[in-house]
């Protein structure tokens, strides 16, 4: 499973990257995960299964979705704030399953 995280500068979402990776390791899941800045989203077309967007960029979700053509959604604010890797991972899985 390949998860892309996106926020304005790719900084605040990078906090969550580590936590999601840890959560996946605990479950014995193989994942690829990376945080990028919104400005670089065009370079990510075709590389990912799902994209989670920082809640501060929820206004950009539709634009990101039209470019990536994969499930894209903004992360629930509290999950994002606490960098809750488990919840974020569940969310990513639920998005892929639709």
């Amino acid at each position: 499973m390949k998860i892309l995280l996106c926020c304005n500068a790719g900084m605040s979402s990078s906090i969550l990257v580590k936590k999601i990776r840890e959560a996946a390791e605990k479950r014995g899941m193989e994942i690829t995960i990376q945080a990028v800045a919104n400005a670089g989203i065009k370079d990510e077309v075709g590389k990912w299964d799902v994209c989670l967007v920082g809640p501060q960029l929820m206004y950009a979700v539709s634009n990101i979705k039209s470019q990536l053509n994969i499930p894209v959604a903004s992360i629930e604010p509290r999950t994002y704030a606490l960098a809750d890797g488990d919840k974020a991972l569940d969310f990513a899985i639920s998005l892929i399953k639709g």
Binding site: M11, N38, M58, Y59, P77
Partner: protein
Amino acid sequence: MNKIQAWLQKWLMPIATALENQRHLQAIKDGIVGIVPIIIIGSFCLVPTGIGNLIGGGVQEWVNAHNSIITFPTYFTTNIMSLYAVLYIANSLAKSYDIKNVLVGASAILVHLLLSVTITEEGAWTVSYLGAEGLFVAMISAILAVEVMRLCSKHNLTIKMPDSVPPMVADSFSILIPLVIDVVIATAIATLCQNLGGTTFPQVIMNILAPAISSMDSLPAVMIVIFITQLLWVFGLHGAAITSSVWAPFAIANATANAAAVAAGADPTHVFTFGFYYGFLQVSGSGMTLGLVIMMMLSKAKSLKTIGRVGIIPSLFGVNEPIIFGAPIIMNPFLMIPFVFGPVIVAAIDYLAMASGLVGLPLWEAPGFLPPGFQAFLLTLDWKAAVLAIFNVVLMTIFYYPFFKMMEADELKKEAANS
């Protein structure tokens, strides 16, 4: 409260989304913000001069004696800044249109040079308009080149090669017609400006934009920008990311103009630069929340303590999303008041402190995402500026305190009821 939220969501979200989808604005913002590292490198080369002036004596003499070597790179960074900007803006706009031609950036550079550089009778280049004054021309050049390319391919005005031709070769043929159009338009504009107006295109643009540039670097403008930024955050939207598509070009042009003044041995004149915004008005993140984070860490309320602990380290480096979404500040009836109005007061104090000469003006650009005071010092080489940045955080802590106490009492009551 929910009604207000629903109403604002209904009106704010579409505006934010529309701005986000306006590809020219986004390309300009991404392009201009993308070249900040180049400005920072140019600024580094001016730092020895600044330190020499600060210390004086032998250090100053040594720096002055070697100045031509130390400041050599500034001629190719800050002084021709717009040349980097035009490439970056064109690439990012081309990307948004899915234009894959690798030469589109080069065509934008060509347009920009035609519009901005004049040639003396001896055949030498005059490049003075490639610096700060050229940034706005760079936006025009980049948009012109990319749009010409796009319209040409839309209307099949390109030389198409068979599919078996390698893409690099095909690209160089398909850009030929757009390039001819670019060159004709840009040369016509440059010649018209020179022959009819006796001036240059960048000067014409600067004359048109002069009122906007000077009104952007003013106390009311800074207060309005910070107010809107903070207000957007209250609704969970990234304030700076949205508002900066309007102010970042001005703020970066101002920083470049300041650096050019310093390089020429003059005093900087602009207060509202990119660094002023981040190094003073966004210390420890939007809303300057460091004091709030510490109060949360020390709180008896468990939920607040947890968020405070998660948020403290990122906060020290200017990242406070954990606090904004965790406290949360979003739609929080207690915290939104100091969060929105506090920074407006801070902005007024800082602007006046600089405009009055009490604290040094930003000399150039400096790296951000540093603990409070560091960027402010690097920007100004004035210890009073570092004190001012820390003072901002302390003042904000005082603003947050009563509201935090109310929120904490509320939170403790909830926790007691749940246990």
